[in-house]
Subunit: 330 residues, 2 copies
DNA sequence: TTGAAAGCGTTACCAT
DNA sequence: ATGGTAACGCTTTCAA
C-alpha cells in the first residue's frame, strides 16, 4: 500500500494540493471550515508529510549537526554529554532535530563537516571540541557557512562561537581558593583551545591580583584527561611541595590529580567548581564530609558567569564580540 | 550565487543528468573516460549532491534515529553514551547518519517516534530505554516499522530487539562471587525492563545452583540510579547483616550502594563486572589496592557473553529468537 | 554507453 | 479564500 501523500488528502477533501499544504503550515488565510476538513482527513489517514520533499521545496532541513571530537567513547563523556543535552533541549523546543557526528580523521579529511552543510543535510553545525585546524576554517569563512564553534574560538577569524565565560570562571575559582587561605596554588590544564589558554591566564592574573606572586601559581600543561591530570599533579607536587591547592582545567583532570594524591596517601578534598553559583561542591570522588574544607562565601564580587558569544552574520565581514545572541538563530 | 547542481556538472561536461547521476552512484556502466571527466568537474566545483533530493528520489534517508529515555541529562549518562558510541561507530561505517531523540512526554504522546519513521526522516529507529508502554507498540507492530528495542524486549510481540546477554552476565557474576567464598549475596536492580527481570532471576538461579539457599540471595527492587542503589543497599543491609557481597543491576546502583557503605564506615571494595571478559575491575570509586579482594579466576566455565537478538522481518508474522542478526540490516 | 523524461512529495508564486 | 503550476535536485526506468 502506497504512502498517503498530500495529494490523497487533497482529493479526499476535494481541495487542491496548495490548500492542504497551507493548512499543514498553519497559514491563516484558510477558512476554518476547510482547515477543519483537511485536518480531519489528515488525522484519519495518520498522514505524515514527507520530510524530504518538504526540505527540498523549502530549502530548510530543520536539522542541526553537532560535531564532537574524536575521543574514545566520546558520547559517554559527561562533559560533552552535558553540552549535547543542552543543545538537544533547545533544538527540540525550536523544532529542530539533532544529528550527531564525530570529527574523526575521515570526517575531517573528506571535508564532510562542510558537505553536511553544503548537501543541506543540516541547516547549521555546532562544532564542539578543539581538534580543529586552520585549514578547515578557510572554506567555512569563505563560504559563510552556518558553522559555530562551541567552547572554543579563533581570534581574528570570522567564525561564530559560543563559549562559557572561562575568564570569569577562573577568576571566581582563584578568589575562592585565595579566600580559603591558600598561598601557593597549582593550575593544571590543557592548551588545545583558546578558551583553555584564557582560563590559565585569567587564573594567574586573579591570583596575582589577590596578592600572591606569579611564581606561586605554578602550572602544568597536560591533556584534558584523567591521566593528564594525574601526571600534571605529580609533576607539580614534586616541584612545589609547599603547594596547598590545585585547580584542574576540567573534571577529568581534577579526578586524575585526586587519584594521584590519594595514591600518595596525601589528605585530599576534591570537588567541582560551578562558576554560575560560585559554589564548590565536593561530591566528585568522596562523599561529603563536614570535616574537610568548609565552603566559605566568596570574598567579594558576586559571580556573574554567562556566555561569550562571537557572532558572524552570514554576509558580514567581521566578527562582533556582541554578547547578544549567536548568529544563525534569528 | 546559486548552488551548483547536477545540472551544472552535466552541462559543463556535455553529458546528461543521468550520466552524472550514474557516475555519482558508481554505476559500472559508464565508460571510464566519461566517469573521469565528470569526477573532475565534481571536484572542481566541490559539488555536493543535495541530500534531500536524493532521499526523495531514492526513498532512502540513510539516517537512523536513536531514542533515549527521558532521564535528566541523559546524554551525559555513560551507560547510554556507550551504547550511542557503538551505534554511531557502526552506523557511520555503513554510511548512515545518527539522529538523536529523547522519549519525553511530547515525543511519545504526539507519536513522534512513529512519525519520524513515517515521514521518512529516518530509515529505522533504535529505541533505547524502557519507558515504553504497550500502547506505543501496537502501531509499530501493525505497520511493520523498522523499530528495534535495545537492551529491552517484549515477549509475545513482533518487535525486534537487541540486548546484551543479561542471563549469562548474571550467571558469571554470581559464580565470580561464589568463587570468592561469599555465601549470602544481595542483589539490587530495577524491574523496569524484561532484561532486568532476567538478570535477577538468572542471578538467583545461579546462586542456588552454586549451592546456597534462595533465601541467602536477598534482593531489592529500586530505580536504576545512584539514589536507588543507596537505598536498596541500606534496605538490604539492615535486614541481612550477614550479607558479605552485593551485586547491582548497573554501575550507578553499585556506586550508590558503595556510597552507603562508605558512609556507614563499612570496609568496601567495589568494581565493575565485565561479562565479556569475566573480569571484575575495581576502578569504580577507589584506586586499585592490592589488599582488597584479590580477583580469582572463575570457577569453571569460560565466559561466553554475546547478544540476544529477536529479529522481526518487515513482512513476517512471528519473532524469531535467531541470534544471527537483527532485522532491517541486510 | 548514454540520453530523455517521468516521477519523488512538497512549497511558493501567481492567478482567480 | 482557494487553485494551478512551476520549481526543488535527484534517481530511475526505458529508449536509443
Amino acid at each position: 500500500m502506497a504512502r498517503t501523500t498530500i495529494k490523497d488528502i487533497a482529493q479526499e477533501c476535494g481541495v487542491s494540493l496548495s490548500t492542504v499544504s497551507l493548512v499543514l503550515n498553519n497559514n491563516p488565510r484558510i477558512s476554518p471550515a476547510t482547515r477543519e476538513k483537511v485536518l480531519k482527513a489528515v488525522e484519519r489517514h495518520q498522514y505524515q508529510p514527507n520530510a524530504f520533499a518538504r526540505s527540498l521545496a523549502s530549502r530548510q532541513s530543520s536539522i542541526i549537526s553537532v560535531v564532537l571530537p574524536d575521543l574514545n567513547h566520546v558520547f559517554a563523556d559527561p562533559y560533552f554529554g552535558e553540552i549535547v543535552s543542552g543543545i538537544y533541549d533547545r533544538a527540540s523546543e525550536l523544532g529542530y532535530k539533532v544529528m550527531l557526528d564525530v570529527a574523526n580523521h575521515r570526517f575531517v579529511s573528506t571535508g564532510e563537516y562542510i558537505n553536511t552543510l553544503k548537501s543541506k543535510r543540516a541547516d547549521a553545525t555546532l562544532f564542539i571540541g578543539s581538534s580543529i585546524y586552520d585549514t578547515y576554517l578557510d572554506q567555512i569563512e569563505k563560504e559563510g557557512l552556518a558553522f559555530i564553534l562551541v567552547n572554543h574560538y579563533m581570534p581574528g577569524r570570522d567564525i561564530s562561537y559560543i563559549a562559557a565565560d572561562y575568564k570569569e570562571t577562573a577568576r571566581l575559582a582563584a578568589e575562592h581558593l585565595l579566600g580559603l587561605g591558600h598561598r601557593c596554588i597549582g593550575f593544571l590544564s590543557g592548551t588545545t583551545t583558546n578558551t583553555a589558554l584564557d582560563l590559565r591566564a585569567s587564573f594567574i592574573d586573579a591570583c596575582v591580583a589577590g596578592g600572591i606572586k606569579e611564581t606561586d601559581v605554578p602550572w602544568a600543561d597536560a591533556w584534558f584527561t584523567e591521566q593528564g591530570g594525574y601526571e600534571a599533579a605529580q609533576w607539580l607536587i614534586e616541584r612545589y611541595p609547599n603547594m596547598t591547592a590545585m585547580m584542574g582545567g576540567n573534571d577529568k583532570m581534577a579526578i586524575g590529580a585526586m587519584r594521584y594524591l590519594s595514591q600518595k596517601k596525601t589528605a585530599c578534598a576534591g570537588g567541582h567548581f560551578d562558576y554560575r553559583s560560585g559554589r564548590h561542591s565536593r561530591s566528585l570522588l568522596h562523599p561529603p564530609r563536614t570535616d574537610d574544607h568548609p565552603a566559605r562565601p566568596l570574598p567579594h564580587r558576586q559571580p556573574r558567569g554567562g556566555l561569550r558569544v562571537g557572532a558572524v552574520q552570514p554576509g558580514s565581514e567581521a566578527a562582533s564580540e556582541d554578547p547578544a545572541r549567536p548568529a544563525y538563530r534569528s
